[in-house]
């Protein structure tokens, strides 16, 4: 897996991104979602997380989770429409995992996407690098 360093932030080249700093890993119609290294570093110490329910139907752009840091509560937006099929329960007792491993064990939830066209609107790693460059 390749990754690029943009300032002090890591961007993984095998993932897709959103304008609101979520990352998305697409495997068929399953989208695994988390927040980027940039987002977790901006939030600093993460101390809580509010996850969606399994089975919950979500639409693109809807707030589906909240990540709590000491600084602020950050809304997490659904990058695609579909159904939540899994959530990372480990984060409820160990939310700091998002700081430690944002692209790995800090994933938030998985969605079974129902509209392949939507995924085409996600940002490429190169576009995401452009977005956070200079920040």
């Amino acid at each position: 897996m390749s990754e690029t360093k943009v300032g002090k932030y890591l961007v993984r080249m095998d993932l897709l991104y959103t304008e609101s700093d979520e990352w998305v890993k697409l495997e068929g119609d399953i989208a695994t979602v988390g927040i980027t290294d940039y987002a977790q570093k901006k939030l600093r110490d993460i101390v809580g997380v509010d996850l969606p329910r399994k089975g919950q139907k979500v639409i693109l752009g809807e707030v589906v989770a909240v990540v709590e840091s000491v600084k602020a509560a950050a809304d997490i937006y659904s990058p695609v429409s579909g159904e939540i099929i899994d959530v990372n329960e480990e984060l409820v007792t160990a939310p700091e995992t998002i700081n430690k491993d944002p692209y790995g064990s800090g994933w938030l939830f998985k969605i079974k996407a129902n509209s392949p066209e939507e995924t085409k609107k996600l940002l490429s790693p190169e576009s995401y690098i452009e977005k956070i460059k200079g920040d």
Binding site: R44, D45, V47, G48, V49, D50, V66, E68, V70, K71, A73, V92, T93, P95, E96, N99
Partner: protein, 347 residues
């Protein structure tokens, strides 16, 4: 925007610099939780150069008239406080620490946001001479249970201070046995270059830097208030249960304070704790409720690394001051059960 004079040194140590009260200050170095625990178990230093530092000279009676706590009884070389400047409705203009140099000279530490307001207020209400030392000297606190393993021992009792002395071999304007974390420690005011030499020495002995985020979680565990969040001009010391006054002397706001004491208050400051598995942080103005009815509001809250739970403080209607009882706090439209607790929350 002001910058701490130590900013370059601190950035080299890995500080994340953020804004607080119009100042660029270190917010964290690594994680605030590690920094917080360092203070509770070992030691850490904080740059507090954003806090206002004033030298006030003049007649004791005039100084007494401005400050809510009695200053005349204290010997020179001791700190009196926390105390406060109150407005004529007994609301907090600022909560401050005072250092008695002599009967005619005091040093006063103000909250960063109130430095100019306090200076103007003193000038408006007295003929005292006020000199602002904030930009000439840095203020650094070294705090922690293990402080004396790292820091040169200084012969000072709690709340004593010394002027124009040496600390860790360096010239300092002031060193005091004080702090705002609930742990033992020292605070010193010095030129930035002297502070940097002192901090470099302490770093070689294993002391870590801590930022303002850890300072906030430490003060919340102790139940110490933050101006602008937990107190302000619309809150009086009785509501805040912040005993910053002496009633055996006159001062601005005393009449209103006495009236308040006689009449009683409508709200009181209380602490709260969430269950360990409830990782949501109520924010300022979150509603405190009982069975759906609002009985108060949150003023500040954080995750306590020491207690492994979310804690905070706020104001309850005095008819609902159910210390030890339970209530709910509304966060993003959902209610979470909390235990209403007295301070310090550390217990």
């Amino acid at each position: 925007m002001f910058w701490t004079p130590l900013i370059n040194f601190e950035e080299k140590l890995g500080a994340n610099i953020g804004e607080f009260a119009g100042w660029k200050m270190p917010m964290t170095y690594s994680s605030y939780q590690e920094e917080h625990m360092a203070v509770r178990t070992k030691s850490a230093f904080f740059d507090l150069s954003h806090m206002g530092r004033l030298r006030v000279k003049g007649k004791l009676q005039e100084i007494e008239n401005l400050i809510a706590k009695k200053l005349s009884d204290a010997p020179a070389g001791t700190m009196i406080g926390p105390t406060a400047f109150l407005n004529d409705k007994a609301g907090f203009i600022d909560d401050v620490m005072t250092y008695k140099v002599s009967d005619s000279e005091f040093l006063i530490v103000t909250n960063a946001i109130n430095r100019e307001k306090v200076t103007a207020w003193i000038r408006r209400n007295s003929s005292l001479e006020v000199e602002d030392l904030t930009f000439d000297l840095v203020l650094v606190a070294v705090q922690g249970r293990g402080i004396w393993d790292v820091v040169e021992r200084i012969d000072l009792a709690p709340l004593q201070f010394r002027l124009n002395t040496k600390f860790e071999g360096q010239d300092v304007f002031l060193v005091s046995r004080s702090g705002w974390t609930g742990e033992d420690g020292l605070e010193f005011w010095s030129k930035p270059e002297n502070a940097q030499v002192i901090l470099e020495r302490l770093l070689t002995r294993g002391m870590k830097g801590a930022g303002l985020v850890a300072r906030d979680s430490l003060r919340l565990e102790m139940g110490f208030v933050l101006y602008g969040e937990d107190i302000g001009e619309d809150v009086n010391p009785v509501e805040a249960r912040y005993w910053v006054y002496s009633l055996d002397k006159d001062f601005i706001g005393k009449e209103a304070l006495l009236d308040t004491l006689k009449r009683g208050v409508d709200k009181l400051r209380i602490g709260f704790k969430l269950p360990k598995n409830q990782r949501v942080i109520p924010r300022n103005s979150s509603k405190i409720k009982i069975a759906g009815v609002e009985i108060g509001q949150v003023t500040s809250s954080t995750y306590s690394p020491f207690l492994s739970r979310v804690i905070g403080m706020g104001y309850l209607s005095s008819r609902h001051f159910f210390m030890g009882g339970t209530a709910e706090i509304e966060v993003r439209g959902k209610d979470y059960s909390v235990k209403l607790s007295d301070f310090p929350l550390l217990k």
